[in-house]
C-alpha cells in the first residue's frame, strides 16, 4: 500500500513538474510570437506650414502644402538636396535676401559648369551638378525638413536666399487600421516609442532619415499575441520625397503654362 502511495505521489510530482514546464513554455511562446514582416513601404504625408492644398506626389507621397511652398516649387527651375549623410544636423540658414555669411550656409553658382557649390562658411559641403538645357535662375534647396529658394545670377557668384520654409513629415503605416481593436503593448518607430493613436493616425517624424522600422507588439482582437515589423527604409523615403518634389515642381509649371491657374 505504501509502495502504491509512493508511486502515486511520485507520478503526481512528475506530472506537476511537466505541467509546469509545459505552462512555462506556453507562456514563453505567448510572450514571444514569431515576428511577422510587412514589406509594403509607408506613405509619406508631407505637410507645409499650413495644409491648405492637397496634391498627389505619386509613389506613396501625399503633399499637403501651403501657397508659399507651392509657389517656391512652381518657381524653381531645379531642385537640389543636401543629403543628411553630408550634414546630419540643422545648419544655420542665412537671412532672406542675403547671400549667406561666415556663420551660415552659402551657395556659389558657376554658370559655365552648371554647378552649385554649397558651403558652410568656407567649408565645402556639396556640389550640385545641374543637367544641360535652359538657364536656371532659381533653385530649390532642401536639407532635412527645410526648403530654401535661391536666386542664381546669370553671371554666376553667390546665390541669394529669397525664401525659406519648413516641412513636416507623417508616416502612414500600411494597413495600420488592423490595430484598431488590438491591445497594443508596445509600438516603436526605430527606437522612438509611439502611442497607438499615432500608429493609427500617422507617425510624425521630424526628419525622414531618423525613421526606422515600425515595431508593433500586442494582442489581436481575439487576444492572441503578435509581433509585427513594418519595414521602413530611410533612404527610400528620402528618394521618394525628392522625386515627388521634382514631379510636383514640373507639374505646376506645366499647369501654369497651360493657363490653368488663370481662374
Amino acid at each position: 500500500m505504501a509502495t502504491m502511495r509512493n508511486v502515486l505521489a511520485h507520478s503526481i510530482r512528475l506530472v506537476s513538474m511537466l505541467l509546469a514546464v509545459g505552462a512555462s513554455a506556453a507562456k514563453d511562446g505567448e510572450e514571444r510570437p514569431r515576428v511577422r514582416e510587412f514589406q509594403e513601404p509607408p506613405t509619406i504625408r508631407v505637410l507645409g506650414t499650413s495644409a491648405r492644398f492637397r496634391l498627389e506626389g505619386g509613389e506613396g507621397v501625399e503633399m499637403w502644402l501651403d501657397a508659399e511652398t507651392l509657389g517656391a516649387l512652381a518657381l524653381a527651375d531645379a531642385i537640389a538636396c543636401l543629403p543628411s549623410s553630408v550634414v546630419a544636423t540643422r545648419l544655420p540658414w542665412p537671412d532672406i535676401g542675403s547671400e549667406g555669411g561666415p556663420g551660415a550656409i552659402g551657395a556659389e553658382w558657376s554658370p559655365a559648369e552648371r554647378r552649385l557649390h554649397v558651403r558652410m562658411g568656407s567649408l565645402p559641403l556639396i556640389t550640385v551638378q545641374l543637367p544641360d538645357g535652359g538657364t536656371p535662375s532659381r533653385i530649390l534647396l532642401r536639407h532635412l525638413d527645410r526648403l530654401a529658394l535661391l536666386v542664381l545670377r546669370p553671371t554666376g557668384g553667390p546665390a541669394i536666399w529669397v525664401w525659406v520654409g519648413t516641412l513636416r513629415f507623417v508616416l502612414l503605416v500600411p494597413d495600420a487600421e488592423q490595430y484598431l481593436l488590438c491591445e497594443v503593448e508596445e509600438a516603436r518607430v526605430g527606437s522612438q516609442v509611439v502611442e497607438k493613436s499615432a500608429l493609427l493616425q500617422g507617425l510624425s517624424v521630424s526628419r525622414l532619415d531618423e525613421a526606422g522600422d515600425v515595431i508593433v507588439i500586442g494582442r489581436s482582437p481575439a487576444g492572441e499575441p503578435f509581433h509585427h515589423r513594418h519595414r521602413v527604409c530611410a533612404a527610400d523615403l528620402e528618394e521618394r520625397l525628392n522625386r515627388a518634389l521634382g514631379t510636383l515642381s514640373r507639374t505646376l509649371k506645366i499647369e501654369a503654362a497651360a493657363g490653368r491657374f488663370d481662374r
Partner: protein, 466 residues
C-alpha cells in the same frame, strides 16, 4: 496551448493513472459550475422566475442553463428548456418580443430600427437569438443589413471582439450570422461592411470568403480591394495559390467561373503577385470572357509582367476585340512584328467588301478605349456611324461614346450634337431595347442628358459672350 497537457501526461505516466491525474488536475483548476440545477429545482413551476434568477447569476450561469437545455440530465431538460426560452430574451433585456417576432414586415423593421438606434452594435445579440429561433431565421437575416447600415463597422467589430475576450462562444456565432447575412443580401454596401468587420477582427479567411461571394453578385470593385487587404494582412498568398489551382483543375465551362477568374486576377494584380497565375490559365479562360472583362484581365496580366502569356492564351481568338487584345499584349511583350500582323488581321476581321460588322466593331472600339487607345476607338466609332446600314442601335451607342469623349474634352457643342443624333435614331428604333445607366429608360436618360448639356452650354455662353 491547453492541448499540450494531455500529451504531456500520456508521455509521463502510464494509462489509467494518467487519466485519473488529468481528471484531478482538471477538477482542481476548473471553476465550479454555477448551481443552475438547484435554481431550476427551486423555481420549478415558474420558468420566468428561474430565468430571472439564472440571469442574475451572470453569463456563466446563462451558459450553463443553455447547456442543460441542450444536453443536461434527462430529468432537467424540460425545466431547463422552459427556463432557457424565457432567459434567452431576459438576458438581452428584451421585455416583449411581439414586434420583432410576430409583426408584419414594416412594423417589425421599425421595431428593429428602434432597437438598433437604442443599442447600436449590441442589437446584434438580439439578431443572433432571432436567427437561432425556429421560423425567425429569415427575419433575422433581413434585420442584419439594417444594423449594418446604422452601426459603424468598428463598433460592430469591437462588440464582437468584446464577446471573444469575455470567453463567450457568441463571437463565433455572430461571425457566422454576419457571413450568412452578407450571403443573403444582394446589396454590396452591407456586404462590404461585413468584410470590413471581419478584417478588423483579423478573420482574414472569412473576409476573403465573403468578398469573393459578394463579388459574384455585384462585381463591385470594393471587394477586390478588400480581398487584397485580407491577403496582405493575413501575410500569406496561400489563398491566391489555391484559388488559381482550383480554377486550373476545374471545368472550363463551369457556371460562374468567368467571374471567379476575373476576381482572382484582379486581386493578384492589386497585390502585384504574378507567380500564383503563371501557367495556371488556359485559352478558354480568356476566350470565353466578354469584351470588358477580357480587356481588364489582359490589362492586369500585362501589369503583372505576363504579357506573353496573355497573347499566347488569345492565340486562337477570332473576334475583333480578341485580335486587338492580342495585338495589345504583344506590343507590351515587345513583339512588334506580331502586333502589326494582328492589327492587319483586325482590319479584315471587321468586315468584307466595304461592309462593317458594327457590333463587332463597337466591342473592339470599347476595348481600345478601355486600354487607353482613345484615338483608335474614336476612328472606329466614326466608321460605325458612316457605315451602312444607318440608324442601328450600334450607331446610337457609337454616338453616345463620341458624346462622352467630346464632353470630357470640354467640347460641349459636339457632345450635344452626338446626343441629339443618338436621340433621333433611338426614336426610330424600338425604345424597349434602349437602356440608360442604372437601368433607366434610354430615351428618357438621353433627353435629360441633352437638357443638361444645353444648360451648361447656355451658362458658358453667358460667362463668355461671343
Amino acid at each position: 496551448m491547453n492541448s499540450r497537457y494531455p500529451a504531456l501526461i500520456r508521455c509521463a505516466v502510464p494509462g489509467g493513472l494518467a487519466v485519473a491525474v488529468a481528471m484531478v488536475v482538471r477538477c482542481v483548476t476548473a471553476a465550479p459550475p454555477p448551481d443552475v440545477q438547484a435554481i431550476l429545482t427551486q423555481h420549478g413551476a415558474d420558468p420566468t422566475a428561474s430565468a430571472q434568477a439564472v440571469v442574475a447569476r451572470g453569463p456563466s450561469a446563462v451558459a450553463e442553463l443553455r447547456r442543460l437545455a441542450v444536453s443536461g440530465p434527462a430529468e432537467m431538460v424540460p425545466l431547463a428548456m422552459r427556463a432557457w426560452a424565457a432567459a434567452r430574451w431576459t438576458r438581452l433585456g428584451i421585455a416583449s418580443t411581439g414586434a420583432l417576432f410576430t409583426a408584419e414586415e414594416p412594423a417589425a423593421l421599425a421595431a428593429w430600427e428602434t432597437l438598433v438606434a437604442e443599442r447600436g452594435a449590441a442589437a446584434l445579440a438580439v439578431a443572433l437569438e432571432l436567427s437561432e429561433t425556429p421560423g425567425l431565421g429569415a427575419r433575422a437575416m433581413r434585420f442584419v443589413p439594417v444594423l449594418l447600415s446604422a452601426a459603424a463597422a468598428v463598433d460592430v467589430a469591437a462588440w464582437i471582439a468584446h464577446q471573444t475576450l469575455t470567453g463567450s462562444d457568441d463571437a463565433e456565432r455572430l461571425v457566422r450570422l454576419l457571413m450568412e447575412g452578407a450571403e443573403r443580401t444582394r446589396d454590396p454596401v452591407p456586404q462590404a461592411r461585413v468584410v470590413e468587420i471581419l478584417l478588423l477582427l483579423w478573420r482574414y479567411r472569412e473576409a476573403l470568403e465573403v468578398a469573393e461571394r459578394s463579388f459574384a453578385t455585384s462585381s463591385a470593385d470594393v471587394f477586390v480591394s478588400l480581398a487584397a487587404t485580407a491577403i496582405r494582412r493575413g501575410g500569406s498568398d496561400e489563398a491566391l495559390v489555391s484559388a488559381f489551382d482550383r480554377l486550373y483543375r476545374g471545368r472550363a465551362d463551369r457556371a460562374g467561373r468567368e467571374l471567379e477568374l476575373v476576381f482572382w486576377i484582379r486581386v493578384a494584380a492589386q497585390l502585384g503577385r504574378a507567380e500564383p497565375i503563371r501557367g495556371k490559365l488556359r485559352p478558354p479562360d480568356l476566350l470565353r470572357l466578354p469584351p470588358a472583362d477580357a480587356a481588364q484581365v489582359v490589362q492586369n496580366l500585362v501589369r503583372l509582367g505576363l504579357a506573353s502569356e496573355a497573347s499566347g492564351l488569345l492565340f486562337a481568338g477570332q473576334a475583333p476585340f480578341q485580335i486587338y487584345l492580342r495585338a495589345w499584349a504583344r506590343r507590351a511583350a515587345g513583339e512588334t512584328a506580331a502586333e502589326a500582323s494582328d492589327l492587319s488581321t483586325l482590319e479584315t476581321s471587321l468586315g468584307n467588301d466595304g461592309e462593317l460588322l458594327k457590333g463587332e466593331a463597337l466591342a473592339a472600339a470599347d476595348v481600345m478605349d478601355r486600354l487607353g487607345d482613345v484615338s483608335a476607338a474614336i476612328r472606329l466609332w466614326k466608321r460605325i456611324i458612316d457605315a451602312q446600314p444607318p440608324g442601328t442601335l450600334h450607331d446610337v451607342n457609337a454616338h453616345l461614346r463620341l458624346a462622352r469623349v467630346a464632353e470630357s474634352a470640354g467640347d460641349l457643342t459636339n457632345a450635344l450634337a452626338h446626343c441629339e443624333e443618338a436621340l433621333r435614331i433611338s426614336r426610330e428604333l424600338d425604345t424597349s431595347t434602349l437602356t440608360g445607366p442604372g437601368g433607366q429608360r434610354g430615351t428618357e436618360w438621353l433627353m435629360r442628358a441633352i437638357l443638361e448639356l444645353r444648360r451648361r452650354l447656355g451658362a458658358r455662353e453667358l460667362r463668355n459672350p461671343p
